[in-house]
Subunit: 369 residues, 2 copies
Amino acid sequence: AEEFDPAIHSHRRYNPLTGECVLVSDPRRMKHPWNGQVEPPQSVRLPEHDPNCYLCSGNQRASGEHNGEYEHTKVFPNDYASVLPPPHPLKRAAPPHPLLASEPVVGACDVLIFHPRHDLTLARLSWINIYKRRGRQESIKYVQIFENKGAMMGCSNPHPHGQIWALSHIPTIADTELASMTRYAVNPDVEPSEAPCGPFGRPCLLCEYIHFELRVSKDQGRVVARNEHFAALVPWWAVWPFELLVLPYHRHIPSLAHLTDDEKLSLANVLSQVTKRYDNLFSCSFAYSMGIHQRPLPPREEDIQNADDAENITHLHLHFFPPLLRNASVRKFLVGFELMGESQRDFTPELAAQRLRACSDVHYLDLLD
Amino acid sequence: AEEFDPAIHSHRRYNPLTGECVLVSDPRRMKHPWNGQVEPPQSVRLPEHDPNCYLCSGNQRASGEHNGEYEHTKVFPNDYASVLPPPHPLKRAAPPHPLLASEPVVGACDVLIFHPRHDLTLARLSWINIYKRRGRQESIKYVQIFENKGAMMGCSNPHPHGQIWALSHIPTIADTELASMTRYAVNPDVEPSEAPCGPFGRPCLLCEYIHFELRVSKDQGRVVARNEHFAALVPWWAVWPFELLVLPYHRHIPSLAHLTDDEKLSLANVLSQVTKRYDNLFSCSFAYSMGIHQRPLPPREEDIQNADDAENITHLHLHFFPPLLRNASVRKFLVGFELMGESQRDFTPELAAQRLRACSDVHYLDLLD
Ligand SMILES: O=P(O)(O)O[C@H]1O[C@H](CO)[C@@H](O)[C@H](O)[C@H]1O
Ligand SMILES: O=P(O)(O)O[C@H]1O[C@H](CO)[C@@H](O)[C@H](O)[C@H]1O
C-alpha cells in the first residue's frame, strides 16, 4: 500500500497551543477557478499627512478631541472603546437560566500610532510601555496587543497603528494557550531535550517546538527568517495561507517586559524582515492581523529573573494571520466549512514557507527608488 | 452601587455549545466612524441562465465535465474537492516530533445546486438524501452540510448552491458541540424542566435552551420567527451581528433523517421566513454562511425511534452567520482582537432580534412586482 505523504494527501494537523485541528486539503484544490470577490488594490504609498485622517498629527478626531502635534509615536484611549475602566459594576444579578451565563467586563482600549512611517518597526516597540502601564492598573487581568493592517482585514483607518485592549478577564484564546502551556510544562510524559529551559527546569512548549524546527528537523522546511535571537516560521499547524509565528529561540522569554536591549533590536529586525517579505510576496501592501501572546500581566522587577514563577510559563510570541491566498487580489475566506467544521487550508505550510523564503527582504518599492 | 445591565454595560457571554465566550461591547462602540472597506452591491436578480456559469443546466464545468440538463436539484462531486474517497492511505509514518501531530483524512465533497430558483427553500431539503447516502459510505464519520451565500462570504459562484463535505473524522467544532451536549445530558446538577425529553429521559441542552426562550423567558426578546415545529432566534451567545439559530422545539430531533413530512415542510417554511427577513433588513441579497449540525451519521431505520441510543443525543440545528453590520455595504470583520483574544460583538443579541422581528417576511422585491 502507498505511504501517506502530507505533501500530496489530505490530512489534518493538530495545534498544541489551542487543541484545535486544521484540515490541509488535497493540493488539487488550488486549481479551483475563482469567480468570487476580488479585493481592490491596497495602497502602499500614503500621503505624508492627510487632513481628513483622524489619526494624523495636528488633526481632530471623530470624537472632537485634538491629537496635538506629535513627532514619534502617540498613544490615546480609543474613542469608541469596546470596554471602559471601572466604575462599571462588576457585580451582576443571577442569570435568567444556567444556560444564559454572562459576566461583566471592564478595562481600557488604546490606540498606538506608529510614526514616523519609516521608523515603523522600532516605533512598534512602544507596545512595551503600554503593556507595563495598563497591566498594572486595577482590575486588569490581560493586555492584548494587536494590529489590523489593510482594509480587507477590517482596518478602519490606513494610518499605521495598533491597538491595546486591557481587560478584566483573560480572553478565550489566550486562556486556552496558557492552559496548554501549563499542561505541557507539568506533563511527565514529555521527554527532555536540549532546548532552553523555562520554569520548572524544563523547556516550555514553544522553546521545545522552535528548538525542533531550528536544530533538529532535517529540512528546516517551515523557517522563513531568523537573526541572533528571533525566528519567524510558518508553524506546522498554520491556518491562514501565509501565517507566521515569530518568537525568541535562544532562551525562554515570558513577555515583552523581559527583553534586553539587544533582544528588542532583534525583535524590531525580525519584524522588519517579515513585513518586507510579506509586501514582496505579491508586490502589494500585505494585509494581516497581528497579535502578541505573552505573560498576561507584566512581571514586577523581582519576578523577571525568577525561574520558578509559574506565571513565567508563557513564551512571548507574535501571530501573523494574513488573508491573501493567490495574488494581491484573491484572498482566503475562512467561511462555511471553516466556521461550522474546522479550519481548512488549501496548500501546505511547507509550500508557504518556501515561497516566503524565496522573497527578498529588501522592500520592492525601495528597489524602485 | 449601580446594577449591572447587559443592555448598556460591556460583558461576556458563555456559549454552552462550544465553551467559548463572546465579548459584548459597550454600545457606544457602534458610533465608531467607518473609513474601512465598503462592500460592492450584492446582486439579487440573476439571469435565469448564464452561459458562463459552470453550475447552470446544460453547461460545461471548469473541469471539462458537462452538467447535462437538469430540472430540479442536482448533486455532483466537487471538481476541486478538499478531500477524496479512499484508497488514499489512512496509515501514516510516526510524526517527526510529538508536537507535530497529524492524521490522514479521506472523504468526499459534493455540490448541491438548488434549482429552480423560486423553489429554493424546498429544494434545499435534498440535503436529506445526500446526508443519508454519504453518511452510509465506508470510512465516513461526519457529514457537514453548509452554504456560503454572497461574494463577501467567500462564495465563489453566485448560482444558488450548497456543499456537503463527508469526512473520515468529526471536525473540531461539531466534535466540541457533541461533547458539550453529552456532558450536559449526564450532568447530575441539571434541574429537570418541562422541556421535551431526549435520550436518557431528560431534555437535551438545546431542547432545554429553546424551551426557556419560547416558554419561560418573560420577554422572548431573542426569538425572531416560529411556526408549528421550528423556531429561529438570535442565540444568547451570538457572535455575528445578525446570527440566527434555527431548530425544532416541539420534540427532540437528532437529525434531518428523523423529520416527518410535516416537519420537513415546517423547516422549509422557517428557512423561507428567515432568508426573506434577512434580505429585507438592508434591502439586499443578504450574505451568510449557513451550516447544519446534527447526528454525525444518519441513523439506521431501527435507530430512528430508539430513545436510548446515545448517538441521538444531538439535536438538529442550523447556524446562520451573516457578516453585514450597519447596512448593505458595511460588514463586521472578525479580525484582530477576535482572532487573538475572543469573539466580540458591537451590539446586543436582543437588539439584533428586535430589528429582525421588525422586518416583513414578504420579500421586498415581491412587494415591488
Ligand atoms: O467552495 P468554494 O465556494 O469555492 O469556497 C468557499 O467555501 C470553502 C468552504 O467553506 C472555503 O474553504 C473557501 O475559502 C471559500 O471561498
Ligand atoms: O478597531 P477598528 O480598527 O475600527 O476595527 C477593527 O478591529 C476591531 C478589533 O479587532 C474589530 O472588532 C472590528 O470589527 C474591526 O473592523
